[in-house]
């Protein structure tokens, strides 16, 4: 707060508070600058001087003269005079993807090398300014909206990349509206940064993935501060009503079940933390006891030696997930359908163990709390495959013109 009162930092703090890009000359909430909520978070703006040009827009005059939706498809075929956007994208179920979520969805990550004296060098901290200006999140590699090859271990396989491969007309149509500490309670503070025009833009698939902060807090009497099922219902319905006023017709919202965080403690409590690896003297349980003592344990309920408390936290998470499931099955909205996706991280663990790999590899090594790059990539694949089988309408049909688009427009201007 003190730092934010400095004039030079004020606008950066405001950006972080509002979750809209700092560098955005035409104020359309899309930017050509990567960090500070720029194109690492939402598709890159291909004209930041024109408010009517941005990713996700329904093409203006089939983009015969300019690329109004930044998907890299524009111009017309000189042989028949038909605009390429009409030829390749008309009637193809083109749509975007938006994630409304927490630090797991934004892909919180602190590189392990920052804490490890072995092999530490100047290169170790090369990413530090970028990481700080992205709030220590790496949405460019994330489960929902990742689009760059991961440089933090593992690989990138995101729902956005799958959706883009499925239909090349969806190029750059992604938004990561997630924030560290995001929960059903505080989502109102930043969901308004969502950029979608109900009349002018294409439909979207919105994932609502608040997988832990409704049961995670730093209070020692943590159970008292968890969201109740009644509050959860009211919070989620309020958010969905807001989305109903913003999303174009034909959109979908997928509510993602809360995680079962017992997996975290069970998998790592007795392993050495990166700060203790050299001298084999600090385990994750020591780190979390230290954080609890300082009253900054991000999840008193799950990251504790108290097994009863861990079970009670899961019990509450299950109750909150039941609320999500009930909303998906019994509420109707004007502009979108609601689905419920269950047991994401349990499925990831099962898939990973089938490959003979260890569960701790699915957890961020420094914080011991967030899904790792591997967990995100495996998770994206699981959601994609299951959604195609269960809800074929969610991602629409595969575009038969994908090969033609690639042949004509190559990487479509990249990201």
């Amino acid at each position: 707060l003190k730092l934010c009162s400095l004039p030079i930092l004020r606008s950066i703090c405001e950006t972080m508070e509002s979750s809209v890009p700092l560098e955005d000359f035409d104020h359309d909430n899309f930017s050509f600058f990567p960090t500070l909520r720029g194109y690492h978070w939402r598709g890159r703006d291909c004209n930041d001087m024109d408010k009517s040009v941005y990713p996700g827009k329904r093409p203006k005059d089939w983009d015969a003269l300019e690329d109004s939706n930044c998907n890299g498809i524009w111009g017309f075929d000189p042989e028949d005079g038909i605009p390429y956007e009409k030829k390749f994208c008309d009637g193809t179920d083109a749509k975007g993807i938006i994630i409304i979520g927490d630090s797991a969805a934004a892909h919180f990550h602190i590189p392990m090398q920052w804490l490890s004296a072995i092999n530490m060098s100047k290169e170790t901290f090369a990413d530090l300014p970028l990481a700080l200006s992205n709030e220590l999140d790496w949405p460019q590699f994330s489960l929902y909206t990742g689009f760059q090859n991961a440089t933090i271990g593992g690989w990138t396989k995101s729902l956005y990349l799958q959706l883009r491969k499925w239909n090349r007309c969806n190029h750059r149509d992604y938004q990561n509206i997630a924030r560290n500490g995001g929960s059903s309670h505080n989502v109102y503070q930043y969901v308004e940064s969502l950029a979608r025009n109900q009349e002018l833009d294409k439909p979207v698939v919105v994932f609502y993935a608040m997988v832990g902060n409704d049961v995670c807090n730093s209070n020692q009497d943590t159970l008292k501060y968890m969201t109740t099922p009644q509050e959860m219902k009211s919070n989620v319905l309020t958010t969905l009503e807001y989305l109903d006023s913003r999303l174009p017709n034909g959109s979908h919202v997928v509510l993602v079940q809360l995680a079962d965080g017992r997996f975290l403690w069970d998998s790592i409590h007795d392993r050495y933390h990166p700060i203790g690896q050299l001298n084999k003297n600090v385990k994750y349980k020591h780190v979390y006891n230290f954080l609890s003592c300082l009253k900054i344990n991000p999840c008193e309920g799950w990251m504790t030696e108290n097994e009863t408390l861990r079970n009670l936290t899961t019990e509450r998470a299950d109750q909150l997930s039941s609320v999500l499931s009930e909303i998906a099955s019994s509420y109707k909205f004007k502009h979108f359908k609601v689905f419920y996706f269950d047991n994401l991280y349990q499925k990831v663990t099962v898939e990973w163990s089938k490959l003979g790999r260890e569960p701790w590899e699915l957890i961020e090594p420094v914080d011991g709390f967030h899904p790792s790059q591997i967990a995100s990539a495996v998770g994206a694949e699981i959601i994609w495959k299951e959604a195609l089988l269960k809800w074929p309408e969610l991602f629409g049909k595969e575009n038969a013109h994908n090969k033609e688009i690639t042949a004509k427009f190559a990487d479509q201007g990249g990201h």
């Binding site: 004296a117 072995i118 530490m120 700060i275 003592c293 300082l294």
Partner: protein, 127 residues
């Protein structure tokens, strides 16, 4: 939150410095300089690091030369606080003789230095 962040930031930095000295078989002073040289100059993180050395370097060298761990060093530098009636927070195993005794001995080491009292608030802001 601010006090807790300062404490954990201090314990981590002291631990990394100590481990760098161990890995490179160098002095604490050399390890501190090395760590600062690794940090990017934009947005002046290496400068902030150099400032920390200026403010705390001499005390840190004294304390770490006694092979004290991050918990004890940061308490001695007043960057981790003991709240009366509440447990003492520590990351590492409790030393033989107990934490309180270790803190007292560490405080004696830096007693002649008045940098700690002068700079504790400044350092807290930096963290």
């Amino acid at each position: 939150l601010r006090k807790s962040s300062t404490c954990i930031g201090c314990v981590l930095l002291v631990s990394i410095t100590e481990q760098l000295a161990q890995v490179h078989n160098s002095s604490i002073q050399e390890a501190m300089v090395l760590l600062c040289s690794y940090l990017p100059s934009e947005p002046n993180l290496s400068g902030i690091c150099a400032l920390l050395i200026e403010l705390f370097g001499s005390d840190l060298i004294k304390l770490l030369n006694y092979k004290l761990n991050g918990d004890i060093v940061c308490h001695a530098l007043k960057l981790c606080n003991n709240v009366p009636g509440e447990p003492i927070c520590h990351l590492y195993q409790t030393p033989k003789g107990g934490l309180k005794r270790a803190f007292k001995e560490a405080e004696k080491i830096v007693m002649q230095s008045n940098t700690v009292m002068k700079n504790a608030d400044v350092i807290s802001d930096v963290f």
